[in-house]
C-alpha cells in the first residue's frame, strides 16, 4: 500500500475514535488496527512511524507504540519457510 493511502486510512480510524475519552480512543485505534490490518500493513505502519511518521494522527502514533511490542502470531507472516511448514501440515 502506498504510504499516503496508509496514512489516510490510519488517520480516518483515529478521527473516528478521537471522539472518545483518551484512554478509550487509544485502545480503539490500536484494537482496530490489530484486529483488521494484515501484518504486512501493520509492519509498514510501524516502519513508517520509525521513519518519522509524518502526517499521522497522534492516536496512531500511540497505537503504533503498542503494536511495535506485539509480535505477529504466525500463519500470515509471509515467511516462505513458515508457510511451507503449515502447508505440509495441511496435506
Amino acid at each position: 500500500m502506498e504510504n499516503d493511502k496508509m496514512v489516510r486510512q490510519a488517520n480516518q480510524i483515529a478521527q473516528y475514535f478521537s471522539v472518545y475519552p483518551q484512554a478509550r480512543a487509544e485502545e480503539g485505534v490500536h484494537g482496530h488496527i490489530r484486529k483488521f490490518w494484515e501484518p504486512r500493513i501493520r509492519t509498514q505502519l510501524i516502519e513508517y512511524v520509525a521513519a518519522g511518521g509524518n502526517g499521522l494522527h497522534e492516536l496512531v502514533h500511540t497505537a503504533v507504540d503498542s503494536l511495535r511490542d506485539e509480535p505477529s502470531s504466525g500463519g500470515e507472516s509471509g515467511d516462505p519457510a513458515a508457510q511451507q511448514e503449515i502447508g505440509r501440515r495441511a496435506t
Binding site: 489516510r8 486510512q9 478521527q15 473516528y16 484486529k35 483488521f36 494484515e38 495441511a90
Partner: protein, 967 residues
Amino acid sequence: MASLNPVNYGTPRRSSDTQITLEIDGQSVTVPQGTSVMRAAIESGIEVPKLCASDMLEPFGSCRLCLVEIEGRKGYPASCTTEVSEGMQVATQTDKLNQIRRGVVELYLSDHPGESLTPEGHGDDELLELADRLDVTEVRYNKGRNHQLATVDGSNPYFDFDASRCIVCSRCVRACNEVQGTFALTVDGRGFASMISAGTDDDNFLSSECVSCGACIQACPTEALIEKDVVEMGMPERSVTTTCAYCGVGCSFNAELKGDEVVRMVPAKQGKANQGHSCVKGRFAWGYTNHPDRITKPMVRDKITDPWREVSWDEAIAFSVDKINGIREQYGSGALGAITSSRCTNEETFLVQKLARAVFNTNNVDTCARVCHSPTGYGLNSTFGTSAGTQDFVSVEKCDVILVIGANPTDAHPVFGSQMKRRLRQGARLIVCDPRAIDLVRSPHVQADYHLQLRPGTNVALVNSMAHTILSEGLENRVFVEERCDMDEYDGWREFILRDENSPENTEQYTGVPASMVREAARLYATGGNGAIYYGLGVTEHSQGSTMVMGMANIAMATGNIGRPGMGVNPLRGQNNVQGSCDMGSFPHELPGYRHVSDQNVRDIFEKEWGVTIGSEPGLRIPNMIDAATAGTFKGLYVQGEDILQSDPNIKHIAAGLAAMECVIIQDIFLNETASYAHVFLPGSTFLEKDGTFTNAERRINRVRKIQTAPAGYADWEITQLLAQALGYPMNYSHPSEIMDEIARTTPTFKGVSFDKIDALGSVQWPCNDDNPEGTPVMHVDTFVRGKGKFMLTPFVPTEERANRKFPLLLTTGRILSQYNVGAQTRRTANRLWHAEDWLEVHPSDAEMRGIKDGTLVAVASRMGETTLRAKVSERMTPGVVYTTFHFPETAANVVTTEFSDWATECPEYKVTAVEVRPCNTMSEWQRRYIDTREKQQQIESEQSVRDPDSVAAGFDAGDKEWEPAE
C-alpha cells in the same frame, strides 16, 4: 393462472383470533373470521368455479361464476365477496347454480377463440377448463360484435397481450395495483368497448409504465396475457422450486420445465420472501444461462497477452496447481488469496474460504461484500452484536413509519419494494433520505411525508441531527433504553449527541436539509408508532459508512424500535447471497459465523474439523491484495464469480494490480472483465446448474436446486473441490448437503440447519439452533445478541472528496430496475430493451449551464479519470449532483471513482466523487484503450472474437450478440 397445478384459494388468507364454524355442502368447516365463503370451501377441498378471483388479490365479485346458495338469504351471492358467519349453511353445487354458471361461461366463450394458444389441452386457460368441467360444449349465440380480430400486443420481449382472449375480469389490473403497486394497467372504455390498456392510448406494454414484473400474467385466467416462451415451447410439464440468483430479496421460484428445458420461472406462492411475486429480472431475465457467450471449456495461458488456449479439466487444474505451488514455494502463502462470490451458494462460498485457509494456508480471503455491505457488518456487530438485518420482510406489514435511507427498493429490491408500497398504501408514513428523488418519493398512491434530500456524503450529520432532535425534545424511549441497553454507553452517546454541533440547525450547512424538516421527520420516526429503518448502499458506500450504520442503530435503540415486528434496522442486501457469503467466513478476519481468527477456541473447532493449522492474523482485504500485488508481495488469486475489474473502484489501479500477479484464476460463467488479466479460466455454473442454499437479506436460508447440468460439466463447488484435491487436500463431498452439515457442525448460528430441515420447512432464518429450532424471524427480541445494546459515538467527519472549482459536481452511483450490478447476466437478456447503456442524470440547471441536452454525449471527469456516456436531464437530481448506473463495462463508471473508502472496512466511497461534466462527441481515450486491450486479452486461440466487432467498434459492446445499442 400462469403456474403448474396451482391451488388458488380465490381470496387472500385472513388471520383472526376468532374462529367461525359453518357448513358447506353438508361439511362442517372452521376458518378465521373475515375469511370468504369461497376460501373456506376451497380450503376444505370443495371446488368453487371462479374466473375473477385469485388468492393474491382482494375479492372483486365480477365474473358471476362463484355464486352459491346460503340458507336464509335471497338470491345467489358471490362466494368471493361474502364473508363466513357463524352457523352459515352454504350450498355450492345445485342444479340452479350450475345452470347459471353454464350460461355465464357460454357468454364468455361467445367472444373468445375457444382453444388454447398451446397445443396441450387447455394450457393456462381457466375459462376453457371451466367450460369442460361445467360441460359447456357449444355456444348458442351467433357471432355478433366481438373482439376476435383485436391486434396482439407483442411489444414486450417476454409476453404478449391478446385482447381477443380477454374477458375483462380485471385480475391483471388488480394485480398491477395490489401486488406490484405500479398502477400501469386500467380498463379503458365502457361496456362492449371495455379493454385492458397499458398506459395511455398511444402506449403499448413496452412503452407504458409497466415494469414487466409478471404479476398480470400470473393473474390472467385466459391466456390473454401469456409468456412468449409458453406460446413457442408449449406448456411446461413439471416444476422444481429454487431461488432467484439476482438481488438480496431471494425470491422463491418454480422453474417450470418441459423435458429438461426451462420454459418459464414462476414466483412461488409459498415463497416466504416474495409471497408469489417477482420482478422483471427473476421472472424473465434468466436467458443468460443459455447464452452463446457461456464459456464451456477450461482455458489457460502463460501470459495475459497470449490468446486463451482451451484445455481439458485435468490440464487446467494441473496448470493451476503448478502456479499455486510455485508461488507458495517462492513467496509463501501470504502471496496467495481468494475471493468468494455473493452470486454463489453458501456451500460454494464456504469451500472457497476453506480452500484459502486450509489449503493455501492463508486468511487472505475476501468477498464482494467488501464493496457493498461490509460497513453493515461492522456497524451492526458493534451496536447489536451480530452482522445481520433484524427483521423478516413480512415485518413491514406492521410498520407505522418507514425510514428509507440510501436505498431504492423499487429498482434494486423490487419485490420487497412492492411489499413496502402496499403497506404505504395502507397508511404507513414514509421518510426518504436520499440525494435523488427515487420513485418512492412520489409514485402512484405513494408519497413520502418527508424527502430529506441531503448532499452526498452527509449521512452521519443527518442521522446525528435526528438523534439530537429525539433527545433534546425528550422523545426517546427511556424505559427501553434502561432495560435493554448499556447505560454507560448511552450516557456518553447522549452527551455527545446533545452537543450543538449535532443540532439540525447546525448540520443544515452540511446536509442542505432544512432544520425544521429534520426535526419533523425525527419526531415522526420517534413517535409515529412502529418505526423501521430500511437502508442500502447509499449508507454503506461512504467514507463514514460504518459510522452511519451505527448512527441508525443508535436511533433505533433510543426510540425502542427494535425487537418486535414492524421495527428494526434492515440492510437491503445488494446480491442474492451477500448475507450468506459474509456468514460463511469470507472476510479475512473472520471464520464462519463472524468469529475473529484470533480466537483460539474458534480456530480449534475448524482446525479439528479440517486437520490443519489456521493463521491467527487477519488476512488481506481485496484492496489490500491489489496494493500488495503492485508492491510485489501478492502473486496469486483465485476468484469465484466476481468481476473486480468492473465492480471495484479506481479501475486503473485494479488493472495494474491484476497485471502484476503471476497467476489469476477466474471461475465464472462468462469471460468477464477481470478475465482479461487472468491466466486460468474455469467455466462455472449458474443457479440452475447446482444444488445449495442462498441466504437473503432477512437471514432466510433458501434452497437452490439443480435443474440442468452446467455446460462445462461441473457446479462451482465441484471445481473448488477439484482444485483442493489436486493441491493434496482431502476434500471429498458428494453433495452440497454434506457441506451444510459441516457448516452446522462448526457454526453455532447454523447448528440446526440442514437440507432436510429446509426442504421440510421451505426455508429457515438463522439463528437456527437448539433455542430456535425452526429459525428466528425477528432478532434481539428480549435481549441483544451482545447482551446490552451499545450506543456508539458517531462523529461527523466530512469526506475528503469535495466539489471544487475544477470538479464542481458530485457524482453518485446506483442501480436501475432492469439491469443488475455489473450486468454480466442482464446485459445478455432482452432487458437491454429498457436500459441498453448507462446514462448520466443531470439536473436541468446544471445541464443548461453546460449546454447539455437530453441524449447529449458527455464526458465525466474526476481527478481519477474520464469516461463518456449519454446525459439524461432529470429533476430527480438536486442541483450540483449527478447520478449514473454502472451496469456496462464500456461506460466504466469506476474509472472516475476514487480510492477513498470507509474508515472501518475499506468499503469504497462510490457515492461521492467530485466531477465535471461537459458535452463531447467521442468516447474517452481510456475507453478506447480499454476496449482495445480487452479485445486482445480475451481472444481465444483459433476462434473469432467473443464479442461482436461492430458493437465493439461502436463502443457500446456488452458481450451480447443479439441486441443493438440504443439510438
